[in-house]
């Protein structure tokens, strides 16, 4: 009995140390997790979902630290199970982050394109209003000035498209907003000029009527 237990204990220790000594660094898991994080970064996670990207980066660092902890241990006591779990979680989260980034990016792009369309529309209507504005001695200079304003707006529209093409959606949205505001301001100036001229014409006509009565 005594001998059996000794053999049992001895065998147990041999098997225990053998198994423990077999633990190898989870190289494949590390590579997979790292490439997932890298893919999320390439998709623009740090730009569009900065906080989430930071979280995933932190998780990867923690997992890598855990691997290092195990690497630093006496070979017989190395256990990478926890590191593997952490790396798997990093991989999953990074993949989710990549997908979320794509969604967010698309949303931002959509907003930028919509803003550009609005800006284009505003410039178009300002131009149309200006073309309708009465041309006369009183308005010629103002119309020329506003034509210059609209030319400036038209010249800046291709920059918006360039920003969208370069995936600088914030820039594109900012440009579009500025263009729209300025175009709206020109439209309202044109409207004011038209109203002013119409009022002057009306006043002149009324004056003529009064003179006629005399």
């Amino acid at each position: 009995m005594n001998k059996t237990i000794k053999i049992f204990a001895g065998s147990f220790l041999v098997v225990f140390f053998f198994i423990a000594g077999c633990a190898k660094p989870p190289t494949e898991d590390i590579d997979a997790a790292k490439s997932s994080v890298e893919a999320a970064k390439l998709a623009g996670a740090e730009k569009y979902l900065m906080d989430n990207a930071k979280k995933v980066n932190g998780e990867l660092s923690a997992a890598m630290d855990e691997v290092k902890v195990q690497d630093g241990k006496f070979p017989l006591f190395r256990k990478y199970d926890k590191a593997k779990e952490m790396l798997a979680s990093v991989k999953g989260n990074a993949e989710r982050l990549k997908a979320d980034t794509a969604v967010k990016k698309e949303e931002v792009k959509k907003n930028a394109v919509a803003a550009m369309d609005e800006a284009k529309g505003a410039v178009g209507s300002a131009k149309a209003m200006l073309e309708k504005a009465p041309q006369g001695k009183e308005t010629k200079a103002d119309i020329e000035a506003m034509t210059g304003d609209i030319k400036g707006l038209e010249d800046s529209l291709p920059d918006v498209q360039k920003a969208i093409d370069g995936e600088n959606y914030d820039d594109a949205a900012g440009k579009s907003k500025s263009i729209k505001e300025k175009a709206d301001a020109v439209s309202s100036q044109v409207q004011q000029a038209i109203e002013k001229i119409e009022a002057a014409k009306k006043a002149k006509a009324e004056k003529g009527k009064k003179k006629g009565k005399k």
Partner: protein, 413 residues
């Protein structure tokens, strides 16, 4: 946010680590206890095996949790977000190195057998790095606020400049090129403001540079004209012309008409005294001196009324035709042609009148008045009446003021 997370960090105090060592060391080790007691029962241990098992036992003890570096990592993230790389590159690099060192030291300790682990010096270091990090955050917050303030100040200056140029371009009818550049500059200012609102200072800085370049282009197209109205010698010459005209008319006991383009005023003098004053419209490029036909500028010089066109004889109510071009105008025209300032095919203009049609009109170079005011002037002016047209009679004129404003704005930079 950092403070809240800091509480979690402070839980990893040395005291907590000690308690953890004492109470948790013997928890959940039933397997080892059973295994060792069985071995002791059936096989009295040798000294070596006793030491071996004690070693295994303590090694397997529940480990105290390693100190948390979460707070420092959050500080690092805040520093990263706050552009610490740009504001304090050396300090931030040192901070990151220290953070890495701490993490490596924790890893080193964690790799040791638990009885040999000692996190206390690390905990102390973590505290120091936290303090350092918080200090760095304050520095970058201060620097960032300073940068924001500077950008906002630059933007305000640019907005002022755009406003001045806007008013000037409208006043002098600077044309569509200047307006186009002004519009592009104004758009860049708006974009810079949006970038500033979103704390994108670099982007705001770039937009400010773009706006500055556009506004400078617009400015260049108005400055030469403004300089004429700020030129002391020229203004003195204009003043002399006005004085001489009034004096001569006084001697001859005739009327004299003085046109001040900067003030857009026409005055009728009789016996050296101002009788009437009217607001006027001038040419589209009226602030310039007329040089050739079609330049839409209003001439400057001493003229006389050579013809009076009454109602029905003029397209613009009534008109007083001037003897433009005079001898000096012809000389300047030929000089400009010779020097290539104007085209060789250019012709000298003519038919410059003082007429009705309204003071708000922009003419082809003539001087326009409201019809009822033209009636009053027409009545008092005769063929031969002296008409002197000048840019300004004082340095205190709107155009000169515009130049001063632009210079002030430039100096504020």
């Amino acid at each position: 946010m950092i403070k809240e997370k800091g509480r979690a960090g402070r839980n990893d105090s040395p005291q907590r680590h000690k308690e953890h060592k004492v109470f948790n060391c013997f928890k959940g080790k039933g397997f080892f206890v059973t295994f060792v007691s069985l071995w002791l029962k059936y096989s009295p241990p040798s000294c070596f095996s006793l030491i071996f098992f004690c070693f295994i036992f303590f090694s397997a003890c529940s480990q105290p949790p390693p100190p948390a570096t979460k707070l420092i990592e959050n500080i690092d993230f805040e520093l990263h977000k706050g552009d610490a790389e740009k504001y304090i590159p050396i300090e931030y690099n040192n901070f990151r190195k220290e953070l890495r060192t701490i993490r490596d030291r924790i890893i080193q300790e964690e790799s040791k057998f638990s009885p040999f682990r000692d996190y206390e010096p690390i905990l102390k270091n973590i505290g120091d790095i936290e303090k350092e990090g918080m200090g760095l955050i304050k520095i970058i917050q201060k620097k960032s606020a300073e940068k924001k303030e500077k950008i906002a100040e630059n933007l305000k200056n640019l907005e002022d400049k755009a406003r001045i140029i806007d008013e000037l371009t409208l006043k002098i009818h600077a044309g569509s090129y200047a307006r186009k550049k002004l519009t592009l500059g104004s758009l860049a200012i708006k974009e810079a403001k949006i970038s500033l609102e979103n704390n994108r200072y670099d982007s705001a800085g770039e937009k400010i540079e773009t706006a500055s370049a556009y506004l400078s282009d617009a400015e260049k197209s108005v400055i030469p004209l403004l300089k004429r109205y700020s030129h002391n010698d020229l203004i003195e010459r204009w003043k002399k012309s006005v004085r001489d005209t009034i004096e001569e008319a006084k001697k001859r006991k005739t009327a004299a008409i003085i046109v001040n383009k900067a003030e857009r005023i026409l005055k009728l003098y009789k016996d050296g005294k101002s009788l009437m004053s009217f607001n006027i419209g001038i040419g589209k490029n009226g602030y310039r001196d007329k040089l050739f036909s079609g330049d839409r500028a209003t001439p400057e010089g001493r003229y006389r009324v050579i013809k009076k066109s009454g109602a029905g004889e003029s397209k613009y109510h009534k008109a007083l035709l001037l003897d433009y071009p005079n001898h000096e105008d012809r000389r300047e025209f030929l000089k400009a042609k010779k020097t290539g300032l104007i085209s060789k095919n250019a012709k000298i203009g003519g038919l410059i009148e003082i007429h009705g049609g309204g003071k708000d009109s922009t003419t082809y170079g003539c001087i326009s008045l409201e019809n009822h005011e033209m009636d009053a002037l027409f009545e008092r002016a005769a063929v031969g009446t002296a008409v002197t047209i000048v840019g300004a009679t004082s340095l205190e004129n709107e155009l000169s003021h515009g130049l001063v404003e632009l210079k002030k704005n430039h100096d504020r930079k």
